[in-house]
């Protein structure tokens, strides 16, 4: 960007930005214009205020600030006749108009600040505020007129539920906070604002319940967010990766969600929510592995169905992790463990398959991953058609051609479907990734290898912590009372206390 400018001019600009306003409107405006040389969308409008000779100027960015608000609440009152009233004001001085009078009596703008430094003013203007410079005043008034570009509220795409709220977060932080507050009236809900990004600044908000959340947890979240040192934080995924406990672990250590009800439920449990401007994905910390297998629907439906869904998802998770590995170990190592009749049919169908079971499984697993990845990018009209073609080729034709056995097609299909039964998309990816490692382990050591892999995975999960909370809890640090909301979902009246593992200030939910 700065390639065309010499070092000298850059230095002078530096000086320019660091300088303060002088109070002389003409020179101040010149100063500003210089700053705005490369911001061609800046608009400067000069005007006489209050039917007097006092000149003023407003500076704003076209499109980023709310035009009608500028017209109706800034320009129109400024140009109306308030001079007579002003003469009775305490701050009256001949030939000038004070900023405080304007704020108190004229301008109908809710958000304002006074600022004397040119750089600060420019930053505010570039974020959508309007700066008001008045002749004779050394301070510019910054008026909040930001109008973010937002889309309308939509149903969360990645976390659809049959029963439950249909609203999802959008890209606008102020909207998201509003949606969160809308979840219920609560004066305990704390929203603390941070700015992240060294060069491109973005608002980040952490939300927690003052009377519930463990203060140490809140402090830890704040500390980690304050430690973010990046020139720009594009998405909440950046935040997630910058504040997580272990970057080597395959498991997501913060939960990302588009669902405000999910964030709110987590806050009431005593967790902390992190919302970033510009992304519909909020983060929840701390997270345990069991949370990734839970869906808000578990609580919306009655407890029996909720429990069954949960067990089903656990089965799906195990499926998507282990089924191809078990297939390989049964076929290549332990033919005795297959029921005799099934062994006979496998024997028949695998006759003529030229590859070992590992290669066979890898071919199919990789091609179904390619199909999935391509499915994300395929244009909507082509998507289903290509899916069918891909499915046919992978399923039917590969068997007909004798590349793979039909049993494997079932195995691959079951695992692929299972991995999408997991409510958290990123948890599904984790399991899909680990599946390949499991396959290699089983190809080397058979069922023994699968067991070793699973033990390794479990020991890693037990050791892993998310913001001080063991990842495998409440299974690893056993708290039986927390098991009411673990594999099973106990009836709501039984869930009297908050999860103990979070060490909340207030432990009772009811009673």
């Amino acid at each position: 960007m700065t390639a065309g400018h010499s070092g000298g001019s850059e230095e002078s600009e530096q000086r320019l930005q660091e300088s303060n306003f002088t109070g002389d409107l003409v020179s101040d405006l010149k100063l500003l214009q210089k700053c705005c040389e490369r911001h061609s969308d800046t608009r400067i409008r000069e005007l006489h205020i209050g039917h007097t000779d006092v000149r003023a100027a407003i500076v704003f960015i076209e499109g980023l600030s709310n035009n009608s608000e500028i017209q109706n609440n800034i320009i129109r009152p400024l140009m109306s006749n308030f001079a007579e009233r002003y003469e009775g004001d305490a701050s009256y001085a001949e030939g000038t108009v004070s900023g405080s009078f304007l704020i108190n009596n004229v301008l109908s703008v809710s958000e304002w600040a006074a600022q004397s430094r040119v750089q600060e003013v420019m930053t505010a203007v570039l974020a959508g505020s309007t700066a008001l410079l008045i002749a004779g005043s050394k301070e510019a008034l910054i008026l909040g007129t930001t109008k973010g570009k937002a889309r309308s509220l939509e149903e969360p795409v990645s976390e659809a539920v049959v029963r439950g709220a249909r609203i999802g977060f959008t890209e606008l932080l102020s909207d998201n906070i509003a949606i969160l507050r809308q979840q219920g009236k609560c004066d305990e809900l704390c929203i603390e604002r941070f700015v992240v990004g060294k060069r491109v600044k973005k608002d980040l908000v952490i939300a927690y319940m003052e009377e519930i959340a463990n203060p140490q947890l809140v402090e830890e979240v704040k500390r980690r967010i304050a430690g973010i040192d990046m020139d720009m934080v594009h998405e909440s995924g950046y935040v997630e990766q910058l504040i997580e406990d272990s970057y080597l672990s395959p498991f997501p250590q913060l939960q990302s969600t588009e669902r405000p009800d999910r964030v709110m439920a987590a806050l009431v449990e005593g967790r902390v929510g992190i919302l970033l401007d510009g992304t519909p994905f909020a983060l929840i910390a701390p997270v345990t592995f069991s949370m990734l297998l839970q869906s808000p629907e578990d609580y919306a439906e009655r407890w029996i169905s909720g429990t069954l869904f949960r067990l089903l998802r656990l089965l799906a998770a195990l499926n998507s992790l282990l089924v191809p590995a078990l297939y390989i170990s049964f076929i290549s190592f332990h033919p005795g463990l297959i029921p005799t009749k099934l062994a006979m049919s496998i024997l028949g169908t695998r006759e003529g398959v030229p590859f070992s079971s590992l290669v066979e499984a890898l071919i199919m697993e990789v091609s179904i991953e390619i199909l999935r990845e391509a499915g994300l990018r395929l244009p909507k009209p082509i998507g289903p058609a290509m899916g069918i073609v891909g499915g046919l080729v992978i399923g039917e034709a590969a068997v007909q051609a004798g590349i793979v056995s039909p049993i494997l097609v079932i195995v691959v299909a079951v695992t692929a479907i299972s991995s999408f039964a997991i409510p958290q998309y990123n948890a599904g990816i984790t399991l899909r990734m680990l599946r390949f490692i499991a396959m290699f382990c089983s190809a080397v050591l058979g069922l023994y290898g699968v067991v070793l892999f699973f033990l390794l995975l479990c020991s890693h999960m037990v050791k892993l912590k998310s913001f001080g909370v063991p990842y495998a809890s409440p299974a690893s640090s056993i708290r039986i009372s927390d098991w009411k909301d673990f594999f099973i979902r106990a009836p709501i009246p039984f869930m009297k206390s908050r999860p103990k593992l979070l060490h909340t200030k207030n432990t009772k939910r009811k009673g």
């Binding site: 033919p335 024997l347 028949g348 398959v353 080397v444």
Partner: protein, 397 residues
């Protein structure tokens, strides 16, 4: 170790792991799965004889011929319908030698796919072989081998055992047919509780006499008929129980799950009738009078009259008591035969009277257990049979 010592260490470990390759990996389609074995008296087959002559093999006494039933993968494929019809889904191959294991390993030099025994379901031992050799010697390999499951069943064939592993039904696997027939105990009294390798081990080690299911074969058809009697002392086959004797034994021990009693009414033109047994219970009590032992057996059964020929009208049915008496008489005759065979001909206890003595008179048992079979053959057996016809089927009369 540089920047990430743990990472490097993990990498080295992974590398070492991968260096091992896929050890002990054997794809299922590269193996021959055998599901049944027939053990016969050593008799070298013609091909084997020729092979031996060409190869000048080791000198053998040829005690045993083992016939393996191997699942043929080529025809069990469901996609090839055409080949399935004219090809059997199994192959029987035989080998002869002095050691069962040696015979098994001989197959490695005769077949491209090594044989595995995980799915073996049944061992058929020919009567002739069992008469000449101890059972525990013949089965020693099956107990030691870690492929073969102890749940594998053992039966005896009075004829050639390898014939029982043949069938004329296309698509069927004879070994599975045999195993399936062992499940039919709720239909007939001729099938006795199946004896698995592990159960057999118990018999062999305790030294009790026992019976094994006998299977007959004729032109690809097989039938369970009677039982082979194994003497606990010698662990060799000493004879057979006929079908009637076996039924008598089953009634005596009350071990039947289902079956029938067929009888003739000799007072009334010898019409035939059948009683379908629904329950059978036998309580055996041992009585010791000094060294003289006697047994009181009380046999009770309930069932239905399922067939009655030649009854002129539906009101002209003989009294239930009369019918019961006829059936009871028939059962008594069966039991008499069984006891006679056990006590007088074979002089062995295969009905488990010994365990009653062991439990009820443990002191006495200590002194008689050494030659229990001969003590048993001199003891008295009193029995009472009570059959009760509780219903007459769906026919209303």
């Amino acid at each position: 170790m540089g920047l990430y010592p743990n990472l490097k260490r993990a990498f080295v470990m992974l590398w070492l792991l991968l260096l091992t390759g896929c050890w002990s990996s054997n794809e299922i389609e590269d193996l021959s799965v055998y599901v049944g074995i027939a053990l016969d008296k050593g008799e070298v087959t013609a091909e084997e004889q020729q092979l031996r002559e060409q190869g000048s093999a080791e000198k053998n006494i040829d005690k045993v011929t083992a016939t393996l039933q191997i699942i043929s993968s080529k025809s069990s494929s469901s996609s090839d319908q055409s080949t399935k019809t004219d090809q059997k889904p199994f192959i029987n191959t035989a080998g002869t030698g002095d050691s069962v294991f040696e015979i098994f390993r001989e197959f490695a030099s005769r077949r491209d796919q090594p044989v595995i025994g995980h799915h073996m379901k049944i061992v058929v031992i020919s009567g002739g072989l069992a008469r000449a050799n101890r059972l525990d010697d013949m089965l020693d390999f099956f107990y030691r081998d870690n492929d073969i499951r102890p749940s594998c069943f053992v039966v005896v064939s009075r004829g050639e055992a390898r014939k029982t592993l043949e069938t004329k039904v296309p698509g069927g696997i004879p070994a599975f047919r045999l195993v399936g027939m062992l499940d039919n105990r709720n239909r007939t009294l001729e099938v006795i509780p199946s004896v698995s390798l592990s159960k057999l081990q118990g018999y062999l080690q305790s030294g009790t006499s026992f019976i094994l299911q006998n299977v007959l074969s004729a032109q690809g058809e097989i039938k369970f008929s009677g039982a082979a009697v194994i003497k606990g002392e010698t662990k060799k086959l000493i004879g057979y129980l006929s079908e009637e004797e076996l039924k008598g034994l089953v009634w005596l021990t009350g071990s039947g799950k289902g079956g029938l009693v067929k009888a003739y009414d000799h007072n009334d033109s010898g019409r035939s009738m059948a009683y379908e047994m629904k329950s059978m219970k036998s309580t055996i009590k041992s009585r010791a009078d000094g060294k003289k032992l006697s047994f009181d057996v009380n046999i009770e059964s309930e069932g239905r009259l399922i067939e009655l020929w030649n009854h002129a009208s539906i009101f002209n049915r003989p009294a239930t008591k009369e019918l019961e008496a006829i059936f009871e008489q028939k059962v008594r005759r069966l039991i008499d035969q069984a006891i006679k065979k056990m006590q007088q001909q074979y002089r062995v206890d295969v009905a488990g009277f010994g365990s009653h003595v062991r439990i009820e008179h443990p002191r006495l048992w200590q002194s008689v257990k050494k030659d229990w079979d001969s003590v048993f053959s001199q003891s008295l057996i009193h029995y009472k049979v009570k059959l009760k016809i509780t219903e007459f089927g769906s026919l209303i009369d």
